[in-house]
Symmetry: C2
Subunit: 321 residues, 2 copies
């Protein structure tokens, strides 16, 4: 199995039907049809490196899932409908069972979202996964980071902090019982991109971003792009039962600075709240309102009683951690 | 400088004007306008790993050039016009002078081809460069590997083998004088993608591929996809003066199995030869006719006198070399 070559490897693990593409994988380029009238093409690219974005212990099936999930999450944050993706893969060795698991997890999520694998590259090298996704979005209707306005409410698509809690458990800094370890590990290893919600928020949300680097850091991107400030009621940030069993200071750290959540944080005018709730229900998600956009720059954190909290925003930075 | 963070780094080195994009870099997704009526989107992705695709000694400016060039070469082989690209980069450390050189070389070639950097990702990790390019191509008019027909002539866009000769010199297996080392090294480190020629060949060439893995291997892809065979006059494969000064057996190895050339090999009906020559002249290239497609499967190599040559096709395989 170890003498499986580059071309056979692609043929065996990464060649799947591409009914949408005009030209599928196996030529110099894939060719995708132009999006429908009035639509444009949303594009995002993410690179995952072992030890940085995933632990060497992660089962390959979950890694395949996550590699695509974090990219679909970017499409979700733009309100785009997934169409296709390319996969570039550097592998330290050809390991058939790894490739089978990785491909299975990747393609299961791809099929779930109607997102075709149209091409890519496989090479030898330190393990590295680079996916570029393509989606369809109305020409002037993509959700951006820059549209938040003072008075808008701030919403979350789901609970935060589990991925970070699981990481702390892996690092041996937190002890979790078996059920809590399993549920938080699942959040870390198998995030669900909020693709349906993203599309339901088109024309409704004023700004959106997905949470990869931590709520405060990613909300900070929205604040900078929109030139606004914000007030967050930290106690209203939803968290799982597993995280709620931890000390409050750890809960806050995980919820606010955790990262790797892949929930959406978005803003919408207050008078759209009913429609926002309805969009959440259509997507099968219990949305949470966690604060408000303010004209005054900066982020103000308060607890449930309205008392100010000081809390350092430490957005994840790959060159500073 | 070493404490330059991920976001500042992107801002400083990889943020350039994107007049074509509806949404440029800095949001969750870039948004590209739909291609013009009747056109579709060509997509290709390549990953470059240090020690595999480039030597650690390569000047960063040339590496930036090459990383985009090999991707533009795929667009050229499809006959597509470059539009935009994403860049994902794993860096072992933040090195300002490396980044400046890399970015300069990358963006100079990008500007030359009107290809906008619309987004991407930067992370810490073993050096890895993944570029995904987007181009525009007529909906049913992309050049493919599968269109070669018996009787078609086989053409080359330029001389082959210099990149491989330079690599052998770097490996200490060949000694070159200063001028030959410089010229062949330039071929290896600064390939010129045949983007203008690729578009000029639309509706003219029956099949095309760019030569990254070696003429025989890449022509083999065309033969398999088109279900045809071929006859090549190996002496008619053009080579540089530097390569022509080497022993014939090395010349042939470099020309036929070298790889990393990024010239186009393409096929066209014999009665289109005048138009093909004209397309080459418009692109500023001296095209060479090197053989003919035949119905009989398999590749037949002959020398200038028509004598059969036996020569092993050893297409580059990242897991077998």
């Amino acid at each position: 199995m170890n003498d499986l070559g580059e071309f056979e490897l692609i043929e065996r693990y990464f060649r799947h039907p591409t009914p949408h593409a005009l030209v599928g994988p196996g030529d110099d380029c894939a060719v995708l049809p132009a999006p429908a009238a009035g639509m444009a093409l949303a594009v995002s690219s993410d690179m995952l490196v072992e030890g940085r974005h995933f632990l060497p212990t992660v089962p390959p099936r979950l890694l395949g899932h996550k590699a695509l999930a974090v990219n679909l999450s970017d499409l979700a944050a733009a309100g785009a409908r997934p169409l296709a993706f390319t996969l570039a893969l550097a592998l330290p060795r050809v390991d058939a069972s790894w490739l089978e698991g990785f491909s299975d997890g990747l393609m299961a999520l791809a099929r779930e979202h109607g997102c075709e694998l149209v091409g890519g590259d496989v090479t030898a090298g330190p393990l590295n996964i680079c996916i570029t996704v393509f989606g369809e979005v109305p020409e002037r209707g993509a959700l951006l980071r820059s549209g938040a306005r003072p008075g808008d409410e701030i919403w979350l698509s789901g609970p935060l902090g589990d991925a970070r809690l699981a990481l702390e458990a892996f690092r041996g800094k937190v002890e979790l019982d078996g059920a809590d370890f399993r549920s938080t590990r699942r959040a870390m290893e198998a995030p669900q991109p909020r693709v349906v919600l993203g599309q339901a928020l088109r024309g409704l949300a004023s700004a959106a971003i997905d949470i990869s680097d931590g709520l405060l850091g990613d909300l900070g991107h929205v604040m900078r792009a929109s030139r606004v400030g914000a007030r967050i009621d930290t106690d209203s940030v939803p968290r799982s039962p597993a995280l709620a069993r931890q000390p409050l200071v750890l809960q806050r750290e995980c919820c606010l600075n955790g990262g790797d959540d892949y929930e959406l944080v978005f803003t919408a005018p207050a008078d759209a709240a009913t429609q926002v709730q309805a969009a959440g229900e259509r997507a099968g998600l219990a949305l949470a309102r966690i604060g408000r956009i303010e004209a005054e720059p900066g982020l103000r954190l308060v607890d449930g009683a309205g008392r100010p909290l000081t809390f350092e925003s430490r957005s994840f930075d790959h060159f500073r951690s």
